[in-house]
């Protein structure tokens, strides 16, 4: 920045341990928070609660991963929340029509999901085109798409949730890998037929499908960003656009790719939401998912000026926000403090970013 540089940290902060702490402050904060809430909230510290939190955060995790790629290039994508909403509504509308036409459920689900995923490439293509071809700042281009995706989604569903979808959807989206009745039996993928639905709460349901799904996906994305050529170029562009051009990187094409990837991940998040809720839920997506995604990415160590950021960091950012809400609620505190905490954590993240400009 142009003004006086904040003092370089000395002493402990300059030591390797201090730097490691600064690099992983969000993860440390998450751990401390988990310990505190375990003491203050009954049943906070339980596998069931933890896997519920992660299961319900599938959508924010995907959005944060999408936003990470864009922010590392030094851009921003404000449209992902509503692109997810659009994908959710599109998938649901497709499935509803196909189901009404008498198609078997398997095909309905497959075609609906694939159709929505393909369609969700479109906002990214337009964003990328407007940003690279017409040199519109990413903030404006994606804010425009924010409005467009919002409007199109509302038009499709006319403001109401899209229902009448195959009933297998929520079972797929909310299924578990392992069902155990302690001391009695366990079964894979579904509870035994003989076990009545009324007693389902006595079962230990472990490893929701969303967990391996999200782990594999985020792992792959982290690999692409950290190890792949695509990722190296992403960091290069965010570090210095000029240098990247001079190094022979096709910056425009790469940025197109980044915005399409971001939009596709948002679409995937939206489609997954249909599996989770069993309806095409539009209303969920007016709750500023894109801003919380940006917040999570920044708390996870990325810098809005680009060149910095990790998928794992962003995931930690999402979990910090998620466990904050969950822990406050379980401890009997009104959850509204969460919004305030987001604000405070963001500033902490930026201050740490300023103190350690050469970290990561």
């Amino acid at each position: 920045m142009h003004t006086a540089h904040p003092g370089r940290p000395g002493g402990f902060l300059a030591s390797p341990a201090g730097r490691a702490l600064a690099r992983n402050w969000a993860a440390c904060f998450l751990l401390i928070m988990l310990v505190v809430f375990s003491l203050t909230g009954r049943n906070f510290l339980s596998i069931v609660n933890f896997q519920n939190v992660v299961h319900l955060q599938t959508l924010p995790l995907l959005l944060a991963a999408a936003e990470t790629f864009v922010i590392v290039t030094g851009g921003i994508d404000l449209s992902i929340g509503f692109v997810a909403g659009l994908a959710s509504v599109t998938a649901a509308t497709l499935m509803q029509r196909l189901a009404a036409a008498g198609m078997p459920a398997g095909w309905v689900i497959l075609l609906g999901a694939v159709g929505a995923l393909v369609l969700s490439l479109l906002p990214g293509l337009v964003n990328g085109l407007v940003i690279t071809r017409f040199k519109v700042p990413p903030f404006i281009a994606t804010l425009g798409m924010w409005g467009i995706a919002n409007g199109v989604a509302l038009k499709l569903c006319e403001g109401f949730p899209v229902a009448g979808l195959p009933e297998q959807l929520p079972r797929l989206g909310n299924g578990y890998v392992l069902y155990v009745l302690p001391g009695s039996f366990f079964s894979l993928f579904d509870k035994p037929e003989s076990f009545s639905d009324a007693r389902v709460r006595e079962l230990w349901r472990l490893v929701p499908y969303s967990l391996p799904f999200v782990l594999v996906l985020l792992g792959a994305l982290a690999f692409v960003l950290r190890r792949g050529r695509f990722g190296r170029h992403t960091y290069a562009i965010g570090g210095s656009m000029d240098a990247a051009i001079r190094a022979g990187i096709d910056v425009d094409r790469h940025l197109m790719g980044t915005y399409v990837l971001s939009s596709a991940l948002a679409g995937l998040a939206g489609v997954f939401n249909v599996f989770q809720t069993g309806i095409g839920n539009y209303t969920t997506f007016s709750s500023m998912y894109e801003l919380f995604a940006v917040a999570a990415v920044v708390i996870g160590g990325a810098s809005l000026s680009g060149g910095k950021g990790r998928i794992s960091g962003s995931a930690v950012g999402v979990l910090v926000l998620a466990f904050m809400e969950n822990g406050l609620a379980i401890s009997g505190v009104v959850p509204f403090y969460r919004y305030i905490a987001v604000g405070v954590l963001l500033v902490v993240a930026v201050v740490i970013d300023k103190l350690f400009p050469d970290l990561f």
Binding site: A141, S286, V334, Y339, V350
Partner: protein
């Protein structure tokens, strides 16, 4: 980008380009209005102008708030939730004072003053973070958005704030002039008339209030030293520092002004809808930023005027009212505003290139 701006300064702010750019958006506005006059039933009526001003007041105020920040090269994401926060503070304070036995007018004035005073706080914090701690404006104001949302919900426990005295509604929906058909005029108060007699309400009070405030700010931005400094900071911050402009103090002032205007909008909201809620302004962020950008300001700072921002606001307001009167759901509004926003920026860029 840098070249374009250098040229712009070299040619004395290139009057031709400014002329073209300004006319472009006015022409669009005229075409849009004529279109709706033909397609939307009831739109071609003098009262339409009054209606869109009355319902657009908050957007006009938010857009001017955003304009000052954007001219410095920043962004204020928090205006919408500052609006909501202020609407709650206004409702709670006025209600509390009225219940404590204050006459309604005194409660209203004291409540308004308190709202504006409290409404300065988010802006001062934003300005302090941006100017003195070098926090990027996007992050600082996003963080304030969260804080305002949280504090608002804590104050009202997740429901509406209500219970304003009847005087509030009279002020919020009041007009300066009432014309009874065939019966003459009445100032400020609605005349008592027989049933069936038509009363025309003219000149809504809050629109006049907003017009005065915006007029003063237009003067401040274009004619005062503060305004020149705001442009200088957005044009080139290093140069502004070297020219001896107190950049940090000015930025603090700009963010405080932005949040003051947002809380004025919140006060107007509370008086108009006789309630306060946390997300009252949540959807206004797109409109406010779009109005400024459609009005030809640059995201990178240093350009934009109040007049053209108002033209941008009118483009959106006419669109919204026109669509509503054509019976199209407001869904179309989001799509069109988004598209116009991006198109406006592209057109501005081409006009700027022509100037070179």
């Amino acid at each position: 980008m840098v070249n374009a701006r250098a040229n712009e300064i070299a040619s004395g702010r290139s009057r031709l380009g400014a002329f073209l750019g300004g006319r472009w958006i006015l022409a669009f506005l005229v075409i849009e209005t004529v279109y709706f006059c033909f397609t939307a039933q009831g739109f071609a009526h003098p009262n339409s102008a009054q209606i869109l001003l009355f319902y657009g007041v908050e957007i006009f105020l938010l857009a001017v708030a955003e304009l000052f920040v954007i001219v410095t090269g920043g962004i204020d994401l928090s205006v919408g939730y500052v609006l909501g926060f202020a609407s709650i503070i206004a409702t709670k304070v006025i209600n509390g004072l009225a219940e404590a036995g204050l006459p309604p007018l005194a409660a209203l004035l004291a409540g308004a003053a308190a709202t504006l005073l409290v409404g300065l706080i988010p802006g001062l914090v934003n300005g302090w973070l941006v100017a003195y701690l070098d926090v990027p404006p996007f992050i600082a104001t996003l963080s304030m958005l969260g804080v305002c949302h949280g504090v608002s919900e804590l104050v009202i426990h997740g429901v509406y704030a209500m219970g304003l005295p009847p005087l509030a509604a009279e002020v919020g929906s009041g007009h300066l002039l009432y014309w009874v058909r065939g019966g003459g005029f009445s100032f400020f108060t609605r005349p008592e008339v027989e049933r069936g007699t038509e009363v025309f309400e003219l000149v809504p009070g809050i629109v006049v209030l907003a017009a005065i405030v915006i007029g003063v700010l237009a003067f401040v931005l274009s004619r005062t030293r503060f305004g020149r400094h705001v442009y200088a900071i957005g044009g080139n911050r290093d140069a502004a520092i070297r020219a001896g402009i107190p950049v940090r103090r000015r930025l603090l002032g700009v963010y405080a002004l932005s949040s003051l205007l947002a809380s004025l909008a919140g006060l107007v909201y509370a008086l108009k809808y006789v309630s306060g809620k946390a997300d009252a302004g949540a959807g206004s962020l797109l409109d406010a930023i779009a109005a400024v950008m459609i009005g030809g300001a640059s995201m990178f700072g240093g350009s934009g005027t109040v007049g053209r921002t108002l033209a941008g606001c009118l483009v959106i307001a006419v669109l919204e009212l026109g669509l509503r009167m054509s019976g199209t759901p407001t869904f179309d509004k989001y799509i069109l505003v988004g598209a116009i926003l991006v198109l406006a920026v592209i057109v501005e860029r081409y006009l700027q290139q022509d100037r070179k």
